[in-house]
Amino acid sequence: MAKINMVQALNASLHEAMDQDEKVLVMGEDVGINGGVFRVTDGLYDKFGRDRVIDSPIAESGILGTAIGMAMAGLRPVIEMQFSGFSYEMMHQLEGNASRMRNRSRGQFTVPLVVRMPYGGGVRALEHHSESKEAYYGHTAGVKVVIPSTPSNAGPLLRAAIDDPDPVIFMEPKRSYRSFKEVVSPEPYQIGRAEILKPGGDITIISWGAMMRDTLKAVEMIKANRDFSPEIIDLLTISPMDVRTIIESVKKTGRCVVVQEAQQSFGPASEIIALINDQALMYLEAPVKRVTMYDVVFPLFARENYYLPSKEKILRAITHTLDF
């Protein structure tokens, strides 16, 4: 089988979902004729027509608001925020309506939709094009937050998001869009489940999104000089978090490092550490360490590589925790 990149995997998943379920509709800025600025929606317009692949006006709140109505009427809208940095325009529709309609109406109305958005740094982009703000969405009850990391898990996770009965924020690490290819198998992925990439007994290492690759590379760098057995977890779903997988792993290894691209404070890494504190503190052999961005406004690209968590920082955090 041919190897494909993440964009191709996402695109294939959208084609398949629209083929198999006529309730699936795609809407966003430049998603139709242009196929999306990253080409994730390429070919959909020609195949499914303008009624189901809508080039919308440039209005993120209008896109989500309209999609909420569509979802309540029985469609399965998959909308695109062209960059996650533009998604704050739709925040009140998410917080005020999409996330709450099920609760507000005691289940009479539900909002099964997907908000896709490329996020993250490392692509030498303009301002507002590099942030990792999964914590904003994770803090909202009634919304699921999913972040794939490879071509193999991106397609099945997107399909799971489309089939999910609740709103899903689907954040695509754009640094991983075209950076590597894989042979993908049609293995299903479940929202709410983390994946143990490598079972091990010495230390639990948790990451997600584009940092997953850097984390794996850091582990290989350490392994070149040191024999150790890490248990590496790809979180995949930020919310609701797979607490059990994390806790069971930490109980087994007694050590943990969390690697997140987002800034340090109030992020998923903080939440993971709090959960470990609640449920596995007495199993720890070392303090849980986190590798994150700093609490600064994301710098323009001339400086971004100094600020993004590097392989070397991850390496030092793992070594420090092993040696503690």
């Binding site: 309730k23 509709l25 009624d51 189901r52 809508i54 919308s56 006006p57 209005a59 709140s61 209008g62 989500l64 608001g65 309209t66 999609a67 909420i68 109505g69 569509m70 979802a71 309540m72 009427a73 029985g74 469609l75 809208p77 009140h92 529709q93 005020g96 309506n97 309609m101 099920r102 609760n103 507000r104 109406s105 005691r106 289940g107 009479q108 109305f109 539900t110 009850a141 009634g142 699921k144 009965p165 609740d166 709410g192 609701p240 978090m241 607490v243 059990r244």
Partner: protein, 363 residues
Amino acid sequence: MPLDIIETFQISRLSILNENGNVDRELEPDLPEGSLIKLYEAMSLSRMMDQRMLNLQRQGRLGTLPVCTGQEAAFCPPILALRDTDWFVGSYRELGARLMRGESLTNALMFYNGYEEGNVNPSNDRTLPVSIILGSQLAHAVGLAYASRLLGEKETIALAMFGDGSTSEGDFHEALNFAGVLNAPVVFLCQNNQFAISTPRQFQTRSETIAQKAIAYGIHGIQVDGNDALAVYLAAKEAVDRARAGGGPTLIEAVTFRMGMHTTADDPTRYRADEQVAAWENKDPLIRFNIYLSEKGIWDEEKQADLESRLKARIDKRVTEFEQGIEVKPDAPFDHVFAVPPESLEDQRRQFLADLEKEGIHG
């Protein structure tokens, strides 16, 4: 010529039944007697229930209430133009419209006593719950209407209601723009009641009318006397029929007045003069509709007295029932976060129930 007029626009105002009860026979809509009486009774029920809930709130027997007295002709008549299969997307100041869509008096009592359960309309699953974030519901109406067409319902439309304050929100403009671009079968009905809490209409927008904002989005716009039930009905009916037939969206500005406070937490004497309120008392939508029906020979004092006692009994019964106690599940919020609660949420629910067992319900 370097300077040409390339387009001109105009905005109409529709008025059929004036404040003295005189009717314009040429414009008078052809409504059967039964519908006219149904409409009058619905407007009357809305007024009586609103006033009763206001009293209950003042006695500490109800939570914060947005009062809608005086606006009955703006929000009730459009419902007559709808089918049960049409979508109704309201805001929070259209009690009578919700009752006409099948909500019970108990719905209102529950909702304004702090129970989400009051938002469930058991007899119509196309009536959306109360929407409090101003203007945010308008795009939902666009999506509902568009989706219904795509799903094969060729005649379904959506009616959305909101106030003059909402027209300053970006969501209002985005929704009208989407509706125009998608040619969605939607009717936007603005209840221009002159005030957004304390802020008068002229501080919201420099536009002469709200109706003219339709022009910018290439959709139909009309202003009506919002205290004239016949004019509001006719404008709504024309807009609904046009949307049904694929003729696109309409913005209707119904000019009315909020006779009471914004909500029971508000004191309108801080920002408006008694004389202004008194002037609008003479334009009461119920009085002029009563005159209209009486002059048609289908209403009289006896019928009025009978209606008032029937409605009062109905309201009394529901209030008594409600105050005798309702059964609700304390942990219901855990049921409605997701279709299936994740394991971690079920853990929190167990903790909540255990805490409740220990501490009891707090005052």
